[in-house]
Symmetry: C2
Subunit: 192 residues, 2 copies
Amino acid sequence: MRREVALPHASRLINHGPTVLVSSAAGDARNLMAAAWSMPVEFTPPRVAVVIDKSTYTRELVLASGAFALNLPGRALADLTYTVGSESGRDSGDKFARYGIPSFAGPALGLPLIEGCVGWLECRLLPEPHAQDVYDTFFGEVVAAWADERVFANGRWSFRDDNTELHTLHHLGAGAFAWPGQAVQARRLDPV
Amino acid sequence: MRREVALPHASRLINHGPTVLVSSAAGDARNLMAAAWSMPVEFTPPRVAVVIDKSTYTRELVLASGAFALNLPGRALADLTYTVGSESGRDSGDKFARYGIPSFAGPALGLPLIEGCVGWLECRLLPEPHAQDVYDTFFGEVVAAWADERVFANGRWSFRDDNTELHTLHHLGAGAFAWPGQAVQARRLDPV
């Protein structure tokens, strides 16, 4: 079900603003946090930005390793997303073990990727100390991407009534998540 | 229907990744473009980031005026959003006149805000030449925000079956937009 996404299509995975799970690892340590604040910044090469607060353990691991992964949870993982976003790995220990979260090693960078997600982007950090310091904004270049072909294929999301558990999550705040309904195809207007 | 949003709640307006319309003005010129790529970067003070490509007329106006506004179109404005995102104001002339787009002057900065949208954020540019140059990323501080109280009140979106035309748009690519269904409230998991 997991298919590689061609790099020119990788930015499409987060084009519509889903909440992501940021996974990271350095030495023997690994961590997972939820992030509502991410966006693509470039299609080719595919580049992204994600906000990683100074208080987070993830930030320490990303700076140590120079890499991070964005995992896209579907609706079925709403509780998991809220849970790992509600506590720090610095306080609670390894969240993967604590919550029994299955993961696999990312083929490109070896980062822990989360089983059951619907999309994955492995990213190399593009070090930007000023943006990191002032805006908590981390830029990265996507070096490999995958998606669950039941909901993303040929560079397109396909949100349908028969795959609602695979729809992405969009955080409204305080653990409330919306998910995309079916899509509408807009048409171009004529000038008045 | 349009109510001011308290500044600590302003980032919530774009927390879930909606596509926005960026409006700008400088001298006698004004413009409007669609942007799928934006995110909050801070709650207090509320700060946002938005990607504005080097080819855009908007970029020229934002750099000249030091300000921009993010307008949040609802489902009813899908065609308008796709249309203004498909051509440059440098080529087609004033899009407001061309497509008969009603606007009003933003109370804080005087920027043209779009009637019929469901949220509005007036932002002062935080000049960051390096991020602008390398990542097309423009940071701004929200100085005033409003929302349509039928769909956003007390700092929260309320996407319901009786207000679907006011649901935000999330661009999947090539003019296909998803919109949020109703929300689910996640719960925290117990450790295994």
